[in-house]
Assembly symmetry: C2
Homo-oligomer: 348 residues x 2
DNA sequence: CTGCTTTACTTAAGCGTATAAGTAAAGTAT
DNA sequence: ATACTTTACTTATACGCTTAAGTAAAGCAG
């Protein structure tokens, strides 16, 4: 199986030069003054022998890995429950790849495995690290950030700490709720995507939901709120539960599309119509949101771009460039489709 | 930013022993006969100083990286178009993580970036590599496999080459088509997930679709076939196109759920009913498949398990254990929901 | 022709670890 | 008491690379 690995020393010997010369040639080191003839010759031999530099050795001597870590805090079952993370990853990866970095993905099932993430940093396995905000501010700010390695947070946190890229999600929540209010709804239910007290940004969105209603003169009604857990089934069950609430809500805001879509299923299965009986608005603008029946009105979040910006911020930090906006928030956008019923309303 | 990194030498000096002793203690090397007292002492000092071994140096001296690569051949826009890959990743990662390996994800946008994947292997950046089958047999078998590093393929290939884990997807296709045939359908359309001639397994599934129909005495009708491209929009458009076909198909088989769901949207948007006017069957059993309206009948593929098995196979190969089944195929399963109309048929 | 600079390399050190080989002291057999 | 083994370490080398420092030959000014 193991075929012999060609080292720079092998190339040097075959080319009749020193190993240093090989290194200078292949790294195009100007100040080494390698003659054109030698350069050509060495390059040819390297090609002939099929030489590829050992990246591990390079990393050791340069004191910096070519990998950037992505730390994901989620149980394995939930990690890719919707396309949020895949989208972030795609954007991030596309940027760092251009700069010769690779993506090292580390999933921490629970906070006990937090240690393994820290070691990723401390063991010099990664030059930098992106962290998902799900962990919560206190964990992130504590040890993670002070390991001498750039850390960028993706996703929303209550406080704007350290370096982060997220979306202006609370404005998104306001747009969603205000849109429903504008359509005349008064009993607007809410399905969160995380159990109470577990995820910071879920709590923040819920607060904003309450505040937006309050601003419209509607007093907060916790009996219209259900706590889900990211996955569709939890959205479905939350909705089934809401359907037992009398009087029925006339609209539902789902904190992610996955759960909003499942909520629509529950409504329709119960023989009610979306949006005529109950209107639904989601959050994320999932790939499938435009292709449900009815198509889902939702808040668009530029997830791919969040990843890209995080990538650019990371590359900057690796080159000691302080980001212009350390806590970047990308705008969200209301996408009106049919599940909210706006198309049924005559605007005179 | 860069806080000083503690090396084993630092620990050695602080503990008043040699660096070798530190290494022996921390790696629990039996034959080194380190006394209990020294052991305790060194461990204490290491903890006090916050020592974490430099993984890069370890990899260099051990001649093996702690990373396992995952090579993804897809344009960035398509890579995570549905949950297939995330599921595989999750399963794979959960297994290799137990053995102290980490996942290095490399996305090759096009076959030109194929080189970057090869270098991943040749540069000793990874101890092993999982490869997605989308690339096709010839690419995989050519250079990739002979770099002296274990390679496991996930997903279907026409030939059973090298080491691979996939699902018995062609049986799945047969089940889907036979189910529709059993419900009395004769004009069964098909929407593939890849343009003609681009992806091996798409072609194989299409062939099986034709063969299954032929076995039932239905002659192949290419006018009932449309070529999509993974994403929902392509399924939607394919279906819109099929709706112009007269006589209309009475059933549609979508090669992935994402496109099948979008096809349902196209059908319903045209004022037709699923399944009464056109029945739909998908493939994958996507998280949302149970929550569409109507719920999608589909072929369940154990994607998470494919990833896990691939992980186990990889760990085996890294320890020179030849897998019992080098080309593992996991069974698929027909999940009957409502989009096929089976629930409307009275079984006497 | 001498002394200084430039060219084109080579030699050597070091990154942080693992581990084979060496060694001094203590223990044990005879 | 001597020889041999065991214990408990230390010393030294290697992994493959980058890069600072060294060097011999050529170029060139005066």
């Amino acid at each position: 199986m193991n075929r012999k690995k060609v080292t720079s020393k092998d190339v040097a010997k075959a080319a009749g030069v020193s190993q240093a010369t090989v290194s200078y040639v292949l790294n195009k080191v100007e100040r080494a003054n390698i003659s054109e003839k030698t350069r050509q010759h060495v390059q040819q031999i390297a090609r002939d022998l099929g030489y590829t530099p050992n990246v591990v050795a390079q990393s050791l001597v340069q004191g910096r890995s070519h990998n950037i870590g992505m730390a994901l805090f989620h149980p394995h079952e939930q990690i890719f429950i919707d396309s949020w993370l895949p989208n972030i990853m795609t954007g991030f990866s596309s940027v760092i790849q251009k700069y010769g970095f690779r993506l090292l993905v580390e999933i921490a099932n629970d906070k006990q495995q937090y240690e393994s993430i820290i070691n990723l940093l401390r063991g010099h396995e990664v030059a930098g690290m992106v962290v998902q905000s799900t962990l919560g501010s206190e964990f992130i700010s504590a040890e993670l950030v002070n390991q001498g390695v750039p850390v960028v947070i993706v996703g929303n946190l209550s406080e704007h700490i350290h370096y982060s890229v997220s979306s202006d999600n609370l404005t998104g929540v306001r747009m969603a709720i205000n849109h429903l209010l504008g359509l005349g709804h008064q009993r607007i239910a809410c399905i969160t995507y995380a159990p109470e007290g577990t995820v910071e940004h879920a709590a923040d969105r819920l607060t904003t939901y309450y505040e937006t209603l309050a601003a419209a003169g509607i007093s907060p009604d916790p009996s219209l709120v259900r706590f889900g857990a990211f996955a569709p089934l939890s959205g479905y069950e939350a909705m089934r539960d809401l359907l037992r609430h009398k009087p029925l809500p006339t609209a539902v805001f789902g904190m992610n599309d996955t759960m909003a879509i499942a909520a629509m299923a529950a409504i329709q299965e119960a023989g009610l119509r979306v949006p005529e009986d109950i209107a639904v608005v989601g959050f994320d603008d999932d790939r499938l949101a435009a292709f449900t029946t009815p198509p889902l009105t939702t808040i668009h979040e530029s997830q791919r771009e969040i990843g890209q910006r995080a990538g650019e911020m990371m590359i900057g930090l690796l080159n000691d460039v302080e980001p212009a906006t350390p806590n970047l928030q990308l705008p969200t956008q209301l996408i009106v489709r049919k599940s909210c019923g706006a198309h049924l309303v005559h605007t005179p």
